[in-house]
Symmetry: C2
């Protein structure tokens, strides 16, 4: 190692910190846009965020950065973290410089235009209305994918997927999804049959005052380990977890008729928030200190919401809490809450899907978007291919495109390669929970006391504190002894839905 190369890496670190700090500013403005901003602020806010992104891009792709990277790589730093950090800097630089500014701009314009048309097309369930716009979005996405593919040395689709979750490829995911499809073919009818044989669960009688719901959400998220000295809970139309590592902002929406939506939503966002709060402080504002990707992030929200908070053990603890908050409703019995909040159904809409059928929605999109990017599927043929896929996977055919290929914003906004993250999250969460249960025999006993500390204490060194040191599969391998494997998720579903 020579002094010059060392200094180049130090320069890269300082630049990364500056860019990350601008990213924090942008994240706060994004939270404000959704949770606080009056409508009249929208246009200026768009400019503010665009200027911040523009500066982040300029700072990341300035000529000196390429030089620093070359010099740093010529005499790389010692230590796994620094080396991973440098590799992530290179990857970020490659991604940021692979695509011409003119293509970036054309893509942003096409995505934004298509998204606007899509809102109307979805409302009218008129795919033809948006087909041309989507074709342009797909054409540009293919150009982007080709440019990234050439520079990153991975397939065009993998190059897109890598933008959301690194350390796993389509060829890793495809067999896992195929195995799940086979599982679902037998598991879903059986689960539905068992469910139909049981008496319908009682629905608790509302209304549930919003202030009480909010207080309960705050209490349960705090009990799960969210430190409100470093967090806020607010309201927004679409719940999310935003903000920064030291100042996490989670949101939810409240429905007076149904408190479960807000409550489980907040526990989901709490999982995201705990991950952010647990990222390695020593690597803050460095690429290696960031979350390891959308799939890993989703695993952290789902392990809290789906694995822990909807478990029999946790519901045992939760039922009397609900009676305390909302009064003595006969629905507030653990077994009833389980039956109520864990129902399976064949539905058209991904965001409303239960945990067993959700992967089918993702598998459909994963296959279709690969075909769109490879050119095997024309945009005009998308509605038909969608409906065929739904029939094959879930045995239902959408009555219209609004309930079919128009339902999600992602493609119409240019996001290809994102969808697998949802199921990487669900399966990763089950795989992590399986390992945690093996290593912590008293885990369910803790959950039955409302204590999530044992679980999050297990996750912290294995996932949270690891930042982006490892990619998706390596992270799972280190934490659970194996790369992505749908078995744990399937076992979880069997025990939750088929054991009755």
């Amino acid at each position: 190692m020579n002094a010059m190369a060392e200094s180049a890496y130090a320069l890269l670190q300082a630049r990364a910190a500056r860019i990350a700090t601008l990213g924090e500013a942008s994240a706060m403005l994004g939270w404000d846009s959704s949770a606080m901003m009056p409508p009249g602020g929208a246009a200026s806010r768009g400019d503010q965020i665009a200027v911040l992104y523009g500066l982040m891009h300029e700072l990341g792709t300035a000529p000196e950065v390429a030089d620093w990277l070359d010099r740093a790589e010529a005499a790389p730093p010692e230590g796994a973290w620094d080396r991973a950090n440098l590799a992530l800097m290179r990857r970020g630089h490659t991604r940021a410089t692979a695509v011409d500014a003119s293509l970036v701009e054309a893509t942003a314009r096409a995505n934004s235009a298509c998204e606007k048309v899509w809102r109307e097309a979805r409302a009218l369930s008129d795919f033809a209305m948006v087909a041309d716009s989507l074709a342009e979005v797909v054409r540009l996405a293919r150009e982007n994918a080709a440019a990234l593919s050439a520079r990153l040395g991975m397939s065009p689709y993998d190059a897109l997927m890598d933008g959301y979750q690194h350390g796993i490829t389509a060829s890793d995911v495809a067999p896992v999804f195929a195995q799940y499809e086979t599982f679902l073919e037998r598991a879903l009818p059986r689960a539905l049959e068992l469910q139909a044989a049981r008496p319908a669960p009682l629905k608790p009688t509302g209304p549930f005052a919003v202030a009480t719901q909010e207080e309960l959400c705050r209490r349960l998220s705090a009990a799960a380990g969210l430190d409100y000295d470093h967090a806020r809970l607010d309201r927004s139309v679409h719940p999310f977890c935003g903000g920064t590592r030291t100042d996490v902002r989670i949101t939810t929406r409240y429905d007076e008729a149904d408190f479960a939506q807000a409550l489980m939503g907040v526990m989901h966002e709490t999982g995201h928030a705990l991950y952010e709060r647990g990222l390695p402080e020593a690597w803050a504002r460095q690429p290696v200190g960031e979350a390891a990707g959308m799939g890993v992030h989703e695993s952290q929200s789902l392990i809290i919401e789906m694995q822990a908070c909807r478990s029999d053990a946790y519901l045992t603890w939760l039922a009397p809490i609900l009676r305390q908050s909302f009064g003595n409703d006969p629905a507030f019995v653990p077994a009833n809450l389980g039956a109520l909040w864990r129902r399976v159904s064949r539905g058209f809409i991904r965001v409303d899907a239960d945990e067993m059928t959700y992967p089918a929605h993702v598998i459909l999109r994963f296959r279709l978007e690969q075909a769109l990017i490879s050119g095997d599927l024309a945009v005009a043929d998308l509605p038909g291919a969608w409906n065929d896929g739904m029939q094959a996977l879930l045995g239902i055919t959408p009555p219209n495109d609004a309930k079919g290929c128009l339902q999600d914003i992602h493609w119409y906004d240019g996001a290809f390669g994102y969808f697998p993250s949802y199921t990487l999250g669900a399966m990763g969460a089950a795989q992590l929970m399986g390992a945690a249960r093996r290593e912590l025999p008293g885990l369910d006993g803790e959950l039955a006391l409302g204590n999530l500390g044992a679980l999050t204490g297990w996750l912290r060194p294995r996932i949270h504190n690891k930042g982006s040191l490892l990619g998706y599969n390596d992270l799972l391998l280190a934490a659970t002894g194996k790369t992505l494997d749908p078995t744990d998720f399937q076992n979880h579903l069997v025990s939750r839905y088929l054991a009755g």
Copy 2:
């Protein structure tokens, strides 16, 4: 005009817009820090704002900017607005480049260190504890003032004052303040005498529910013209008006025992907010489109709060509204509200002062800070000079330095030249109100109907829409036919406090 110079000015405009947009981002983060942020976010927030300011400074002082300015000035744009804009760009560039980066950094460090010591020194009322830190702050402020003075061609103190309010100098202010001092010598004893001769006003009986106060504040500010599609009202320890032109954020604090503090505070911030909302949209994100300075800004808050909302006419309208909100308290009678909310007293604390004695607090500071900057007053002699000044101006001597020269953060944070803005605001507000009353004979009739539209409609083209086209005195001259003149303020005080 040649194409090259035109293009240089266009480049300057684009640069100014980019810097202003970053300023908006920073303003939103500043609001969030005070109104929303959990305590754990403070350290990161400091970094975020520092990085934004650093980038704004870099973008404003990059080598090409000097070149663009030279080229633009060689063939200046046509039109008063563009010319004023270019002149303000030059002024901003001169101010930003006049001081060495090393001095800027040393100043920031000394100010921040002194401010921390001051908090403890004030709590302990121990001036000696902070004297050395303040001496260093003053030393650096004098260096800054000297550097600015040399480049701007104005006296060192004027160069500092110009950073807060342009278009008026210490030699304009000094005789106005001297005249006011003479007025106060006779007016204050007389006002106190008249006040003592009247029965004490009734205090309304609380508690006043915070939710009701907040609703009332929102209602009255909206009635005053604040459009909540472009604004928010929140809570903070220190009330302020922040945010941006299209998304103004005002704050207040609530006291269950006394609603007047929040209510009048919100009307004050509403005045600031209406000014921001009325700045010329065509010049948004350009120097000439910004508010004309702190003195002008304060004139807009005080004309709403002090001139309009504490007037007999407005209180006539407000009294039944208060009965509606808080019940039928015998204190809710216009004459009683006037007597209650317009009391004069000799006090030690500036921020608690009534409108008649407030200028005395400012005059004292104006004189002392000039002496500190000129070197005529040593920091060690400040407590004595302060106490002598208070005795001379208000006839009282602070019992300790916490109620004397330690009370305000400004100097301890390096802000010299700011204090005059408060009284420039109060006198400017009275001068503008005088002109408005002459030109709008029905103005008080409108106020008695709770209608501030006539007043703000008069202010909009004369002050709000003018942005920074004119400096303080020229703006007053254009709006009222004369430069700063304390007569209107004195007449206002005579009519409000001495006419009884």
